[in-house]
Symmetry: C2
Subunit: 462 residues, 2 copies
Amino acid sequence: MNTISNTSAALSVVNIGADLFADAIEAQGFAVTHVAWRPPAGDQHALMTLLADPRVNEANKIAVERMLSAHPVIVDVRPAHEVISALQKHKLLHAGPPIEWERMCGPMRGAVVGACIYEEWAKDEPEAVALADSGTLDFEPCHHYNAVGPMAGITSPSMPVFVVEDKTQGNQTFSTLNEGLGKVLRYGAFAPEVLERLSWMQEVLGPALGRAIRRLGGVDVRAIMSQALQMGDECHNRNKAATSLFVRQVGADLVETGRSSEETAAVLRFIAGNDHFHLNPSMAAAKAITLAGANVPHSSVVVTMARNGVDFGIRVSGLGDRWFVGPAQYIQGLYFAGFGQEDANPDIGDSAIAETSGVGAFAMAGAPAIVQFIGGSPADALRYTREMYDITVSSNPLFGLPSLDFQGVPTGIDIRQVCRLNMLPVINTGIAHRLPGVGQVGAGIVYPPMECFEKALSALAM
Amino acid sequence: MNTISNTSAALSVVNIGADLFADAIEAQGFAVTHVAWRPPAGDQHALMTLLADPRVNEANKIAVERMLSAHPVIVDVRPAHEVISALQKHKLLHAGPPIEWERMCGPMRGAVVGACIYEEWAKDEPEAVALADSGTLDFEPCHHYNAVGPMAGITSPSMPVFVVEDKTQGNQTFSTLNEGLGKVLRYGAFAPEVLERLSWMQEVLGPALGRAIRRLGGVDVRAIMSQALQMGDECHNRNKAATSLFVRQVGADLVETGRSSEETAAVLRFIAGNDHFHLNPSMAAAKAITLAGANVPHSSVVVTMARNGVDFGIRVSGLGDRWFVGPAQYIQGLYFAGFGQEDANPDIGDSAIAETSGVGAFAMAGAPAIVQFIGGSPADALRYTREMYDITVSSNPLFGLPSLDFQGVPTGIDIRQVCRLNMLPVINTGIAHRLPGVGQVGAGIVYPPMECFEKALSALAM
């Protein structure tokens, strides 16, 4: 829609919404002021009802206050089955909303195969596939156990996991240990080197970190993230500062509790060699933050966004454990040399918990260097963060961004505002190859499908 | 000066230079566009001569190209007397331009006393003062030996120093190891705890770092600074990222070459506990960068800015080893609780080598969080960097700032532009208490005295 006012000598035009009107008028030589506007998404009656309902505002306030009060601390590293008691033989956790073996994408199937060999439930790929085909394996989302896993997110009983405790609410959340880049299980690789690394992580890395962290009395992951957000990380696709701060904090205790200097040096070298090592504890912390805001009746705040490589699912505070699902999207970004869009798997992983908690792409204003990795300019990074204030309930003063005069990151996505403004939460993410085991082929920006929010909106209004 | 044009209905005023004219006109209700302008500084004939001399531009190009080509790498940590052969019994190096014992400020006198006791040239303060009073001690600037020291900068023969080698030019530069905050020698403290720490640094920290760095084959300090500048450091008063990256890089080799896990843990804990640990290697690297640009005939590029707490001195590429000196200034900034301007010593230390090389306050656009420490707003941090492009010859593409679309830091201060624009290089710095041993009492912004540049300008034109 546009308005032409011709009260003075020159024609001045304000165009609202679709660009094509503005373009047509500009082509005729007139100045046009463009106002971004899109019609609201979802059921309009449900939207009006929820926007007018004072209980929703009140519930959102409570949900976000709880999120902002969360104080996640890494308290231990333990084998997953010790802290997630349901995770026993033939059970695997995966990223995103529920999905059956038959519908899983390439990287997730590869990771399942790898996990079966790693757990010695199968001796090779054909045996693992047969096991999965036979229905013997029990698949469930990581999120159902307050766990989160990047990319395929496959978590099996013997894998060591970070145990993060919310010192305010008392909840525990979990995430696996980051394997690094290249051929890794989370991208569906199960070559011998991948399985050897996983065994070393189980036997050496996990126990060493567990000893050091217990001796330290915990690592304040919220404090690390808070500092890292002032050091160019956004705690999703840039984790260089957080990883460095983590090494710096645990180094001396790793040495003092190490079984040998050889082992300790290997542990330090492994962590130091992986700029993304701290992604996983940041994800568990983000899970702790969002979990704190879950299950507030009437609240329209999003507490989960997760993808399994086929479906994108969200969960909303006032709607309990229900998933609202739509198709996972393709990522717009930069590809590594030799790869292109035809290689890409749709959006995958639990790492969008970062954005759900207020970091990741929501904090990109503090991480301008990330555009070298995901594309765009530093100005885009600022814009992404600024836009997200329009669809969030509050901001997190503990996660202040220097480039925005220390304003806190936008926190608490409100499905009502997403639908009203027709503006989706922005996510930055790695791009997985669609075939198992190739690994990361790029990184970029992706959005959830709007239908997740539309479905949740209707459900909340019922 | 200002211009009033009254050709249209409304009066429109452009004011150039002094604010008071603009203020007076604004007070009368007219709109004023203010253009910052100050009359040039220094001898105008000398300035015109040098601006018109093509040899100066050519020489500056060479000087700055050499600076940008410098590749400083930490290759070792050794006792100072092993790498600076002139540094033997009763000789001490100090920050800034040359100064005699009688004119030294409180913190520098305290550091001299501490160094004499540490070296066992005196058993206590009275003996040390008597030694200094007797003329037995030989004082010389750190810079005369390509060394740099923060604050008092006192460097004695037994102190371990970082050995930084410029892999392009082959020069070696040196700096002591950072003691941390609180009671420390560089602020003039010589209490038993200060001397005990210095002994531990000599016996444990220095040798441990030397072994690890030699085994690593060197630590690329330019690469660390380049990353740190994208992680919120400006490599002078914010060194958190660089310190973390350094620990991360040397950790495993410290473990593997350590004499015991107890000692290695103590070394890691000491470095991890000091956000400014990497200031000193960054200073030695900055010295290597500026040294590369020194001694180019006709060049008007500044290659040294240093303060001894009484005098501020600069040296210029085309003027060899001559110092051009003026009074050290007081710092505008934030004081720690319980301290105020009456406690402050004038500007002190060799750390302005940071700004001379293009980092420090020149790179503040990349370190907005620093304003919490030195005062001002993130917008000021951007402005400081932007202004410095006006008085520098080039920018350093290896030190790109994400917030300025990866533009390199302004590099190569041209005394001609400083005088022409009457715009001084900005320096951010710690504020030392004027009495020995109290330590840091704040941090802020300071400028050199213009007379350093005016004297150098006249000398270069001769």
